[in-house]
């Protein structure tokens, strides 16, 4: 007989199975379902201009990418300074299809879920290749491997004529059951697609982390020798973490390509990699919910910084590149301040808030 499953004031687990539940109480489940429903339904009632819809879509694409980065950096404890390159691999997979077949080939416009899977697969392959040194090395060196992959990726895109030397490669409009997705509905359509993908991946990762395949990531991060003694293969686990992260990044890249209807070089640079790391850190490394908070926080901060730079440019006409200066400055400050004062990120505030609400109005 378990405790009250509607309003638990604490942890009363008596079996391991109970602790592993995704939703501890029925209230949690209800609130989650209500939240999910509201996220899907709100565009029917509130109409948002395409400009803001693009921001929301951007955040969602970033969430898909950060789910991957958090898996490899947060759960498996391997620093990846080249996540934007993996995202780029996914985007350029679709771009190469568009280069070979033409940007409105039926494969790209009608079978786009297949294309997204292909992009993810390509990302996974490259992730596994970059993770290969894990068989012989500990995590510090892997940061170098990802950094060098980032540099190689940038060079390849910039110098190969096949990739248009980093200039935009166009990707055609997609078709849905009702026909071609027009200019007006474009961002709304992708909002729903990305949201569905996030829900699938979110549940997938949450469940993965309950199984042995997910827990071995954390085991290898915390103590690789102990994990080895328990019968896991640390090297293989790390490669597998990179491949998973690469898959999620690749899908994010494919979504990015479709969302912007084109692929350009500047979305996948080292700066982007660092801002993605900032998202993962700010959200909270090693927490699933952090992958959602981080992108929201950083992208909104980025918008504020841009506005501030525009505002300042009115008063200081000479400061032309204030935006290029303030962006890295704010990202860097956010990374450093969070690591120094709140290393567990926004997810920790969320945890505190939840435990406060759980006991409200009583407290210890």
């Amino acid at each position: 007989m378990s405790a009250n499953r509607w309003l638990a004031t604490g942890n009363f687990f008596t079996t391991y199975r109970e602790e592993n539940r995704i939703f501890q109480t029925h209230i949690d489940r209800l609130v989650f379902c209500a939240f999910l429903a509201s996220v899907f339904v709100w565009p029917l009632f509130i109409s948002v201009s395409n400009k803001y819809m693009l921001v929301i879509d951007n955040i969602l694409v970033a969430i898909v990418a950060i789910l991957g980065l958090n898996l490899v950096t947060g759960f498996a404890g391997l620093i990846s300074i080249g996540h934007a390159a993996f995202v780029g691999v996914g985007a350029y997979t679709i771009a190469s299809f568009s280069q070979v077949l033409g940007d409105s080939h039926v494969l790209i416009t009608h079978y786009w879920p297949l294309m997204l899977l292909a992009a993810g697969g390509m990302g996974a392959v490259f992730g596994a290749i970059v993770g290969l040194p894990a068989f012989r090395l500990k995590h510090l060196y892997l940061a170098m491997a990802t950094l060098s992959f980032q540099m190689i990726f940038q060079w390849v895109i910039n110098f190969m004529t096949f990739f248009n030397q980093g200039q935009t490669i166009f990707v055609g409009r997609v078709f849905w059951l009702t026909g071609k997705v027009g200019r007006r509905d474009h961002y709304l359509f992708w909002y729903y697609v990305i949201l569905a993908i996030i829900v699938i991946f979110g549940f997938g990762i949450r469940n993965l982390l309950r199984t042995k395949h997910g827990r071995c990531l954390a085991a290898v991060r915390d103590n690789d020798r102990a994990a080895d003694a328990m019968g896991m293969h640390p090297g293989f686990t790390k490669v597998y973490a990179f491949a998973l992260a690469g898959f999620l990044a690749g899908v994010a890249g494919g979504l990015h390509a479709y969302l912007y209807r084109g692929v350009g070089f500047e979305s996948f640079t080292l700066t982007q990699s660092i801002s993605q790391l900032a998202m993962a850190i700010v959200g909270g490394l090693g927490t699933l919910i952090g992958s959602f908070f981080g992108p929201i926080f950083i992208i909104l901060l980025d918008l504020q910084v841009e506005q501030l730079a525009n505002l300042a440019a009115n008063f200081l006409p000479s400061a032309g590149n204030l935006a290029t200066a303030l962006r890295p400055l704010s990202f860097g400050l956010v990374i450093v301040l969070f690591l120094m004062y709140e290393p567990r990120g926004i997810a920790n505030w969320w945890r505190i808030l939840r435990s406060y609400l759980k006991l409200w109005p009583f407290r210890y």
Binding site: R136, L137, A143, A145, F149, T324, L333, V336
Partner: protein, 297 residues
């Protein structure tokens, strides 16, 4: 044949500067096991400080070079003091992430100054006619740069081998607990390691700025190439950093001399170091001279 020797000369020039900047990086890694991702930014900052002192403040370049070494020395020390001191004892992964954040911050600060967007070049203070021996020519700037680099590397080796402070730094890198028990202050050693690394980075930045001109993107790329250099040499070997620096300089010069323009290749010098990095990580992960930790995970 003289083309070959010309490439060798310029390879050695660039390589010795890689050696100098790799040395600083290895120093920090050796003493505190921190990969300083922001090292390239410190190199750039050092170069810009020298330029600002020389041209804007009108100080003779010899004095401003020394002044900028001193300034960067204290700058790097305060970076360690402010950002990294409080993270001693935290997991190493978060310390490395702090240096990634630092890289971003210093980038932003440099973009705030005119150096972020414009090109500058140091005033000529050496004879313009290059020195030519048997068809191979080397400019005076390069020659002086190599000589200064050689002197600095020799000075650093002496410092680590003989001076008390250098020996205490090596002791800390060997065994922190044991060195604490003989009375070495570990935070002070960490601070000194950062400061010395800053000093060597400023020297490297100023010399490369004199040779190629000051452009933030170039210095940025130069700073990131330090990573392949130190991996090739072995992360914890100062001698390895010097040798690998020169090897990497030669490889880059040969690549741009012989590969570019053939088979439709272009700019191979920018990418080859990273391919080498990946290959080395796969096949000889501890580099040429790094310590082999017998530990496979």
């Amino acid at each position: 044949m003289s083309y070959f020797f010309q490439l060798v000369i310029s390879g050695i020039v660039v390589g010795s500067i890689y050696a100098l900047s790799g040395l600083g990086f290895v120093l920090i890694y050796k003493s505190s096991r921190v990969l300083n991702i922001a090292h390239g930014q410190i190199i750039a900052a050092g170069a810009f400080i020298t330029y600002a002192l020389t041209v804007w403040a009108g100080i003779p370049i010899y004095i401003s070079f020394l002044l900028s070494l001193v300034i960067t020395f204290f700058l790097a020390m305060s970076v360690e003091r402010v950002f990294l001191r409080r993270l001693i004892g935290e997991p190493i992964i978060s310390v490395i992430m702090v240096t990634i954040g630092l890289m971003s911050i210093i980038d932003g600060l440099i973009y705030l100054t005119p150096f972020g967007s414009e090109n500058f070049s140091f005033p000529e203070f050496l004879p313009k006619t290059p020195l030519t021996v048997g068809g191979v020519s080397i400019s005076w700037t390069q020659l002086v740069g190599v000589i200064i680099t050689a002197i600095l590397i020799a000075g650093f080796s002496w410092f680590f081998k003989k001076s008390t402070v250098g020996i205490s730094m090596r002791a800390v890198s060997d065994d922190q607990l044991a060195s604490m028990s003989v009375g070495i202050s570990i935070p002070r050693v960490f601070g000194l390691a950062w400061a010395t690394a800053g000093l060597s980075a400023a020297a490297a930045g100023t010399i490369i700025g004199n040779i190629t001109g000051l452009n933030f993107d170039t210095l940025h790329a130069f700073g990131i190439t330090v990573f392949p250099v130190v991996i090739l040499g072995g992360l914890d070997s100062i001698f390895g950093a010097v040798v690998a620096g020169i090897i990497m300089g030669l490889i880059q010069q040969f690549a741009s001399g012989y590969l570019d323009g053939n088979w439709g290749l272009n700019g191979t010098a920018d990418v080859l170091p990273y391919i080498i990095l990946l290959v080395i990580l796969l096949f000889k992960p501890h580099g040429l001279f790094g310590t082999h930790e017998i530990e496979r995970v």
